[in-house]
Amino acid sequence: MSTMWIALAAAAAIVGSALATGWAQSRIGSSVAAALAEKPELRTTAVLMIAIPETMVVLGFVVAVLIMLQGG
């Protein structure tokens, strides 16, 4: 039973952060696409902007790993 809860907790950490990252990137992506249509020279800034929310899912992954390790 506890193994199941550990797995679920780890999954929840990943799912929550992945959804949040996806939502943030979708919002940033659409805005960036509009900005690039007007100013193509902003492409590098655009890539950086889109990349920033990825930290959330990385942290989610780390939390999941820690949960798994703590839970044995």
Binding site: T44, A51, I52, E54, T55, F61, V65
Partner: protein, 623 residues
């Protein structure tokens, strides 16, 4: 590295201004800016003679560019052997004549190409038509060429004809690339009136005949189409041959004239940067300090009356200086990665050497597989021999070579060759740790690399700002120290260091916080928290690395997962291929991001101007 620049002022007799500008174009080292006016100096006025010359040069250049454009559209390459500058009058007349001739050839080519395209619409029906007309069928059947806009219209026509004529007709179709359909409709001659009425009622469009045959009837035009198409093709070849002859005869002269007149225009533009008194001119600009001798030498060729003086640093702003990057051969290819961001401001730090060291290293930490590293090395070698020097492909080859070396090295440290294949087939063992088992060790490695990377960035920022912004430099240094203290405190908490260190560290941090707020303002605290977040962001190195090795292991397991060994191997190879593609793409993006967002955020100052020395025009630079 950012090359040291010198701001210089050139002074000479006004009559020597054009000769000086010509010499500067030859030297190709001076980035001109508007000369400072004052004390009897005013902006150099362009007289009516210079304005007339400018108009003339622009007109001739317009003709020359039109000729080159026409040659390009006609698919003719202009041969170009660098020659001596042409006489201007002769070159202008030649350009005008060639502009008219090539425009005529281009117009003829367009007309013929249109006709050829129109005839090609009917080409697939030529055999059917010749069969019908040659067998005397023309007398028994009537022929209609129709154009339908969609598949639905074709189906509707089929159904309507079946209802109106029953079996007594033949419909042959040819779909065009445009989505339209050309239809050849054959009906008995006896039913001509009936079908004419039907087509008019249904408003079916007749396919237009090519322009050259438009004045003839369909019966007359159809047998001539194939011959006309061949004739048009021959005519097109003749037009291109004529253009090729023109290009061969005048290409060298035209290319020399093009360069000459572009140079003249650049020189006229350069004159506008000058300041002048009644007798003297002044030019100002930036020159890389290493090229100052070259500049002096070129000015000596103009005459001893041209004086060059250096403007002392206190009289100019560093942010106005253009930026030239010059890195050792080993680091230079990585300028391709830093060039994706704006240039660093003059006087700040060029991040290229840091990227050259850390980018391949982080990439290797993520990939860490001898097999994948060897494949990357093979790609790098292939790219090296397939690319020309100083191209982006050559730079990419060198970067790929560097990342492959690190991937192989970390592969040995992790004991990986195509995942666990090395272990299973050759008994390969990790020299450091096994990433599949030691997830926590890998996480610690990733975060430690982040700490080192960011502390280095903060130290670089402190050192760079020390002369200009002492307060800011101390703030950056203190931030680096606090980051190290936080890491040591964590090591104590996790009992990797003795607990006696904790109290002094906490006290040091409590003292450092107000100091940093005094030095950099209240936002310094927010900056520090952001930097701590950035450290954790390096955990992605572990996340990507673990995902990469697990995918490789899954690929290897496929060999035994299917009944047939061959199918298993095929699936394993396919999976490795997918993993390799991900391995190339994903670490590149993420490691670049770690540099651009996390690392550069500590010291990088964008906003440097591009160095554009006054020099001779060349078609390569123009494109």
């Amino acid at each position: 590295m950012i090359v040291e620049m010198t701001r210089v002022r050139l002074i000479g007799p006004r009559a020597a201004l054009r000769a000086t500008i010509a010499a500067l174009q030859g030297a190709s080292v001076l980035h001109l800016v508007d000369a400072t006016c004052g004390e009897g100096l005013r902006r150099h006025v362009i007289d009516s003679c210079a304005r007339r010359r400018r108009r003339h040069v622009e007109r001739v250049l317009e003709d020359i560019e039109r000729v080159f454009e026409s040659f390009t559209k006609l698919g003719v390459e202009v041969p170009h052997a660098p020659g001596s500058p042409p006489r201007e009058g002769r070159a202008a007349r030649l350009a005008a004549r060639l502009a008219a001739e090539t425009a005529r050839l281009l117009a003829r080519e367009r007309t013929l190409a249109d006709e050829r395209d129109a005839l090609r619409v009917y080409e697939p029906l030529f055999d059917d038509l010749e069969g019908l007309l040659g067998s005397g069928g023309k007398r028994r059947v009537s022929i209609y060429l129709l154009l339908l806009r969609s598949e639905a219209a074709l189906e509707a026509l089929r159904a309507a004809l079946a209802r109106a004529l029953g079996e007594g007709h033949d419909l042959r179709t040819h779909a065009l690339a445009s989505g339209e359909t050309v239809v050849l409709l054959l009906v008995p001659s006896t039913r001509t009136d009936e079908i004419e009425q039907f087509l008019a009622g249904a408003r079916v469009e007749r396919a237009p005949l090519p322009p050259a045959l438009a004045s003839t009837s369909l019966d007359e035009a159809l047998p001539r189409m194939r011959a006309r198409l061949a004739e048009v093709e021959r005519e097109l070849v003749r037009v291109r041959d004529d253009a090729t002859v023109l290009a061969r005869e005048h290409g060298d002269e035209l290319a020399a004239a093009r360069a000459h007149f572009h140079d003249a225009l650049v020189a006229l533009d350069a004159e506008q940067h000058a300041a002048a008194s009644t007798r003297a001119f002044v030019l100002e600009g930036w020159v890389p300090a290493r090229d100052r001798d070259k500049l002096e030498e070129s000015l000596r060729a103009v005459g001893p009356e041209i004086a060059l003086e250096e403007i002392e640093e206190s009289k100019w702003r560093r942010e106005d200086a253009p930026v030239v990057l010059a890195n050792p051969r080993l680091f230079a290819p990585f300028e391709a990665l830093t060039s994706l961001l704006p240039l660093p401001r003059y006087g700040s730090v060029d991040p290229t050497p840091f990227v050259a060291v850390f980018f391949p290293m982080f990439f290797g930490v993520v990939v860490g597989d001898v097999g994948y590293g060897l494949v990357m090395a093979a790609i790098a070698v292939a790219l090296r021999f397939a690319s020309k020097p100083a191209t982006t492909a050559r730079k990419l080859a060198k970067i790929t070579g560097a990342v492959s070396v690190y991937s192989i090295a970390f592969g040995f440290l992790y004991g990986e060759l195509f995942g666990d294949l090395g272990e299973r087939a050759f008994g390969m063992h990790a020299l450091w740790f096994d990433r599949r088992e030691a997830v926590l060790a890998f996480l610690v490695l990733a975060v430690s690399l982040g700490v080192v990377h960011l502390v280095l960035g903060l130290i670089v920022a402190a050192a760079n700002r020390w002369q200009r912004h002492r307060r800011e430099a101390i703030g950056r240094g203190l931030t680096a120290l606090m980051l190290v203290l936080v890491v040591v405190a964590l090591l104590v908490v996790f009992e990797w260091l003795p607990s006696r260190f904790l109290t002094p560290i906490v006290i040091a941090l409590l003292v450092a916080f107000p100091v940093i707020v005094v030095l950099e303002g209240a936002t310094a605290l927010l900056d520090f928290m952001t930097i701590l977040g950035h450290v954790l962001s390096y955990a992605r190195v572990m996340a990507l690395g673990t995902a990469s090795v697990m995918l490789a292991v899954v690929a290897n397991r496929m060999v035994g997962a299917f009944g047939s060994l061959a199918i298993g191997i095929a699936f394993a190879l396919l999976f490795h291929l997918v993993n390799f593609a991900i391995t190339l793409f994903s670490p590149t993006i993420h490691v670049m991001r770690l540099h651009y967002v996390e690392f550069f955020g500590t010291f990088f100052e964008p906003g440097g101007g591009t160095y554009q020395p006054l020099r001779h025009w060349s078609p390569e630079r123009a494109t």
